[in-house]
């Protein structure tokens, strides 16, 4: 079933891709092929292969149960928040919080995950910023 849904999704993706390829505005100065042809070829391959996947599905993959799905979704939300807040609260705090969360969800104890989070954050800060000179996001406190 997963493969069938995946295949149908792929076909839709191919159609959407082809439509936005056709919508590309051609420049008045174009080469013989133009900017549309290759994307249209790609859309065709995408569509055909998706159709084959939908028609001849593989055995069902092993999907995690609902709880694990929530787990992954939550981790993704944390990472998105991390990306959004990184420039605002600065590298050290944002990283410490995100790494603590991940360590906790991977099964560390509370104290262990805080230690992992702070250690990761400070460790990266020292190695990448202080030693190697990479510019990291600066928060209101300067780090």
């Amino acid at each position: 079933m997963s493969d069938r849904i995946f295949g149908v999704f792929g076909v839709l993706l191919a159609i959407g891709y082809a439509m936005s390829a056709l919508a590309i505005e051609e420049s008045f100065l174009s080469d013989a092929v133009g900017p549309k042809a290759f994307p249209l070829i790609i859309a065709a391959i995408l569509g055909i292969s998706s159709a084959v996947i939908a028609i001849k599905p593989d055995p069902e993959p092993h999907w995690p149960d609902f709880g694990r799905f929530v787990e992954i979704a939550a981790a993704v939300v944390v990472m998105v928040l991390y990306a959004e807040f990184l420039p605002i609260i600065g590298f050290v705090f944002a990283t410490a919080i995100a790494a603590t969360y991940l360590a906790w969800r991977l099964g560390s104890t509370i104290i262990g995950s805080v230690a992992t989070g702070v250690g990761t954050s400070v460790g990266i800060y020292v190695i990448f910023h202080l030693v190697l000179g990479l510019s990291l996001a600066r928060g209101p406190l300067g780090f």
Partner: protein, 512 residues
């Protein structure tokens, strides 16, 4: 003699203090990444790319660092295979078969040191193979026009799926997806924006480094979260390592095996789409057929340890040949290395050997040096790495995620790229669940633009005639190989892959 003097120049470049230090660092980090289950060579190289940029390294030093990581990971994978029966990365899968039984018999030290020597032999001969074969391939490649290049790219995509997936439709899907993503941005020939949806950030295209780190490293973190491998993989299962030198008789017994599998592994590596996993697999199978008269393979036969280790290291060297000579990588990790070259404004391919001989020969010399360093590191100091295996994923994985974020942020300094990377991470997770190979996606995003450029150049030269694509015997030959390479696995691939699958751990390491 040309080759030897070029190699001499290469050593002059590689033997600077900085480059030696980088090679040492790369070897160490590579071995660690190879040894830790869940971090394979492609992951390892991908998350270190930002480091190379941060250090402000030039082309040759960055390549030295990253190929040392690549070779190192090939060495490191065996450590956890032997001690824990968990392959550190996919190419080391076959090493479990005899390596772990040897360790259980109390011969862990012998197995580790023998496989270290085997790795050395494989990598050493493969590097010589690279020196001898790459210039020949360059001569062929110089005959290529745009139409032939287009056919060559098509060949790379069509053969790549053969080994990395059981389902050719899925590898075709992956390749098309990657190519499609490469089209995003302003068309370089006419200047019109494509698939940008008015988002300014997309005008200069998706950064393929963002895609690589997202697809490989972040999706790995998500897999770990899903399965919650929180425990240290080594806890309570530590075996005694014992003596660290194999008896001479054992080396003698394994020498023919090592020589044969060096050749075999190298060939497997040069072929597009095969890579190190296939190298170790066919090496093991061939040796089992050739020398396993008493049925000792699988019960801790030293030759069964030497064969796959030699094979995978030889294949790792072989995979560099098409990447350097043609600009078309044959495996996941070499695709990542290609990304590095492209980011450094160096276009691999035949011209690389004439325009940047310092890069090529410096790299080759560095491979020799790295190989000796790895041998030294992996035999007397193997105890250090076995201790590193004790780091549990619940500490390792957050570090991996954060280093990925830091690296990407360090390159671009924009939150937008981080969001794109998370998107790729989620996509990678879903696609891995659905058994869609990730390597064609990477290759597509890497090569898409030059593939299109060659297509358009070929047709423009011929005044809009599409038949020019199959006009020369060379391109016809390439298309023929491509089609055979695509169709063959549909017929035979299932058999080979199923055999490999039987040994596949739930670890879900990314195919090299």
């Amino acid at each position: 003699m040309d080759i030897l003097s070029a190699l001499g120049d290469g050593f002059a470049i590689a033997l600077t203090f900085e480059n030696l230090l980088l090679a040492l660092l790369g070897c160490f980090l590579g071995t660690v990444m190879g040894a830790l289950p869940g971090l394979g060579p492609s992951n390892g190289v991908a998350i270190l790319i930002p480091l190379a940029f941060t250090l402000g390294l030039g082309a040759t030093p960055s390549l030295i660092l990253l190929t040392s990581v690549y070779y190192g990971a090939m060495y490191g994978g065996r450590i956890s295979s032997i001690l824990l029966n968990i392959p550190g990365d996919e190419p080391a899968m076959m090493t479990c078969l005899d390596g772990h039984p040897m360790a259980k018999k109390g011969m862990a030290g012998e197995a580790l040191s023998l496989s270290g020597i085997a790795s050395f032999v494989g990598a050493f001969f493969a590097t010589w193979g690279l020196i001898l074969l790459a210039p020949q391939l360059v001569k062929v490649a110089l005959l290529f026009g745009p139409a032939e290049y287009f056919a060559l790219f098509a060949l790379a995509f069509m053969t790549l799926g053969g080994v990395s997936s059981t389902n050719q439709a899925k590898s075709a899907f992956a390749a098309a997806l990657g190519l499609g993503l490469a089209m995003i941005g302003v068309d370089t020939q006419t200047g019109v924006p494509r698939f940008t949806f008015g988002e300014v950030h997309l005008y200069d295209g998706l950064d393929f480094l963002v895609a690589i780190v997202g697809l490989f490293a972040l999706s790995e973190v998500l897999i770990f979260l899903e399965e919650r491998h929180g425990k240290a993989s080594a806890e309570g299962r530590q075996l005694k390592v014992g003596r660290l030198t194999p008896p001479l008789s054992m080396i003698k017994q394994c020498t023919p095996t090592m020589l044969r599998t060096s050749v075999l592994g190298f060939i497997a590596g040069v072929l597009p789409g095969a890579g190190a996993s296939l190298g170790s697999f066919i090496s093991y199978s061939m040796e089992k057929r050739l020398v396993d008269k008493e049925g000792t393979f699988g019960t801790g036969d030293p030759r069964g340890v030497a064969a796959p280790e030699t094979g995978n290291n030889a294949a790792a060297g072989g995979a560099l040949v098409p990447m350097l000579a043609l600009g078309v990588p044959g495996s996941g990790t070499t695709a990542v290395l290609l990304a590095v070259l492209l980011s450094l404004n160096i276009t691999p391919g035949p011209l690389l050997f004439t325009q940047n001989p310092d890069v090529v020969w410096g790299l080759i010399a560095a491979l020799f040096i790295a190989n000796f360093m790895l041998l030294a590191m992996n035999i007397p100091m193997v105890g250090l790495f076995t201790r590193l295996l004790m780091v549990p994923p619940r500490i390792l994985m957050p570090v991996v995620a954060m280093v990925s974020f830091v690296g990407i942020y360090g390159i671009s300094g924009s939150s937008f790229d981080l969001l794109v990377m998370i998107g790729f991470g989620v996509m990678g997770w879903v696609l891995r669940k659905l058994d869609v190979p990730l390597v064609p996606i990477i290759l597509g995003t890497l090569l898409g633009n030059s593939m299109e450029a060659n297509l358009r150049r070929a047709i423009t030269i011929d005044n809009g005639d599409w038949w020019t694509l199959v006009d020369s015997p060379l391109s016809l030959g390439l298309w023929a190989i491509a089609i055979i390479g695509f169709v063959m696995p549909i017929i035979f691939g299932r058999v080979v892959k199923n055999k490999m699958r039987q040994r596949k751990d739930e670890e879900g390491a990314i195919s090299d």
